[in-house]
């Protein structure tokens, strides 16, 4: 991918792009409409400014871009293909479903796209220690992987509850030389891991770079992580045009913090014919209250450095979340998604644990692709959506990761033991 690549080949810029609400976001202070911004303890403001400056400089540096592209190709294995899931499409009985195969990336998910970018930035800034939070362990594994390759010290914070659910990934991170620190506070899941990573960062700002794993956190993280993940949308937009001669009619991606989703959506925002769907974790069902779907059922608030939709109670306390997939088990969501929801450019829906598990099995059986449980939420919605569309239409689904890590959870849900 090169910078000169026209992001919108079917749109004639001279014809005049509308002044879309998303065009100038975020603003200089990191706001997407009313969302985003920076809500952190004062100690972190200087390191955030330092990061924003370093990132802006790196963006202007052709050498940084060249190195990133080379790593994306040789180390990650990009570009990832798009794949026409014909049997799944036939079964759904409507639109053609295409997978963007982020599961084929090194380490098995989209997370590494962002980790490579941020780790390169860390090196550029002279930082020698990397910290990260992780839920499912995918971001932790991706971070530990790039840290190993670059010879950086790596500490990953993980809720003790998640460490239990994702024991294999914990072992993997340790093999890669990372220290995995159990987080015992609060709900012992992803949000608490993020609190702990922020606390560590405050204490070690001089030598430490915090690699946030999704499009959340204080500015510049949401826009920076989006930029690193937008390779997903840029590639697949070009690939869809090449393979099917037209843009997809709809995009579907699961939304935890929202990084794989925004990575797919962003390069399509100006393509008004393309409908955009983000799929949140419905857990036991929205009406049960046991879910992780802030865009579907939350209200605006401030957590982890930005304003966004949150799962919170009437007193502004953050609520516990539930999802069968640890990677979606987060009470907030990236501020850009909050904004895209409000302005109506994207629609956010939810899929329950049961629906996701059913889609997991179906996709595995009839396509030979084992999706991550997070991704299975998107698969379930794509099936539902396809059934309402015609066979000439197409859906591009971000197959954000592979399900190898989820064997234990899937077996447990089926009442089996490995």
């Amino acid at each position: 991918m090169s910078t000169t690549e026209n992001m919108n080949p079917t749109i004639d810029p001279a014809a005049g792009l509308k002044a879309h609400a998303w065009r100038d976001t975020p603003d200089v202070r990191g706001h997407f409409g009313p969302y985003g911004g920076r809500f952190v303890a004062e100690t972190l403001m200087a390191p955030l400014d330092e990061l924003a400056t370093a990132y802006a400089e790196a963006q202007q540096d052709p050498a940084f871009k060249a190195k990133l592209d080379a790593d994306m190709a040789d180390f990650v294995g990009r570009p990832t293909p798009i794949y026409h899931a014909e049997r799944l499409s036939k079964k759904a009985g409507g639109a053609q479903i295409w997978f963007k195969r982020e599961d084929l990336n090194h380490t098995g998910a989209h997370k590494i796209n962002n980790c490579i970018g941020q780790a390169m930035l860390a090196v550029r800034m002279g930082k020698t220690r990397i910290i990260a939070e992780t839920g499912a362990g995918q971001h932790g594994v991706a971070t530990a992987t790039v840290a190993a390759r670059l010879g950086l010290t790596c500490v990953v914070f993980m809720g003790s509850e998640d460490m239990r659910r994702q024991a294999t990934n914990v072992y993997r991170m340790r093999l890669l030389g990372a220290e995995v620190r159990p987080v015992e506070s609060g709900s012992k899941t992803l949000k608490d891991a993020m609190n702990e990573a922020l606390r560590d960062w405050v204490a070690n700002v001089d030598n430490t770079f915090y690699i946030i794993g999704t499009v959340a956190g204080p500015a510049p993280y949401p826009a920076m992580v989006r930029d690193f993940q937008a390779v997903i949308g840029r590639e697949s937009r070009r690939q869809m045009l090449e393979r099917s001669g037209k843009l997809p009619d709809a995009l579907v991606a699961c939304v935890g913090g929202g990084s794989n989703a925004i990575g797919l959506f962003y390069p399509f925002l100006d393509d008004e014919s393309v409908k955009i769907y983000g799929v949140e974790a419905g857990g036991d069902g929205i009406e049960s209250g046991r879910h992780a779907a802030p865009l579907s059922a939350g209200v605006s608030g401030v957590l982890h450095g930005n304003r966004t939709y949150l799962m919170q109670d009437d007193n502004g306390q953050i609520m516990g979340t539930h999802s069968v997939s640890a990677g979606l088990d987060y009470p907030g969501v990236g501020p850009e998604h909050a904004w895209l929801k409000d302005i109506g450019r994207a629609e956010y829906v939810s899929v329950t644990d049961q629906e996701a598990l059913a889609a997991f099995h179906e996709c595995t059986r009839i396509e030979g692709v084992i999706p991550a449980l997070e991704t299975a939420h998107a698969v379930a919605y794509a099936q539902r959506l396809a059934a309402t569309m015609s066979p000439e239409q197409s859906i591009l689904l971000n197959l954000s990761g592979r399900g190898d890590k989820d064997m234990g959870s899937v077996a447990e849900a089926a009442g089996e033991t490995l």
């Binding site: 952190v40 303890a41 390191p47 922020l198 502004g316 306390q317």
Partner: protein
Amino acid sequence: MNASTPSADNRLTQRFAQLRKAGRTALIPYLTAGDPYPDATVDFMHTLVAAGADVIELGVPFTDPMADGPVIQAACERALVHGTSLRDVITMVARFREDDAETPVVLMGYYNPIDRLGLESFADKAQTAGVDGVLIVDLTAEEAPEVVPSLAAANLSPVCLIAPTTGEARIKLICENAGGYIYYVSFKGVTGAASLDTDALAGQIEPIRRATDLPIGVGFGVRTPDNAAAVADVADGVVVGSVLVGQIAAHLNDVGAAQSALSKTLGAMRAAIDTQDSSRKAGQKQEGEHA
């Protein structure tokens, strides 16, 4: 002072004016409201005043206190077991005011509970209850302009944090929005994490003095009476938090014992600060005579 700071005096500005005149350093204890249970808090506040508190910082419990160390995290969790809400904390201040019309109270916490209650509604309720200042840990100077006018309109002083990482330009920016006092965070870390480096403190405070006339309180590492005295040597206020909260944690099943421990711990700090203040006054007097 500028347009965004409270125009009228409140207890906080008055208290610091009195202390400055008397050449005394403010002792500012912090407690998490609702810890270990809601009914204990008002009694604890009176205990602190009796032991020498000049200003009380009352922590509003939050599920995700990302700038706090394990001691205050645990206090938040204990308070939240009882469902202690921002409304409850405001009610506690109103009850405290029934017996203490003088001691300024600053609410300290994170932005989300305030945002959820509604900024205007919060400011109004807080003022009515007798709150004097508000310190919102995760409200940066960049976001503060949306919040500070509502606080100012309710005569609530916006107390702001300055950290060792804060550069001179930001110090100016922060002081423009600040009121009551400046809270200087003495080290890079979360509450209760390290001991402060008193030698470096004077140099760190210097640029803040140049930027504002507001009094400067120092907190985050004050553990011993010696620490308190050393801070009093260079700052206008000494903030003590985790050590006190730790006393409550050590006496969870005996509030009376917790009260005596709070009283003893804070009292020792008060004595050390007073000694420091007197010797400074004596020194200044001598200098005056020599001049």
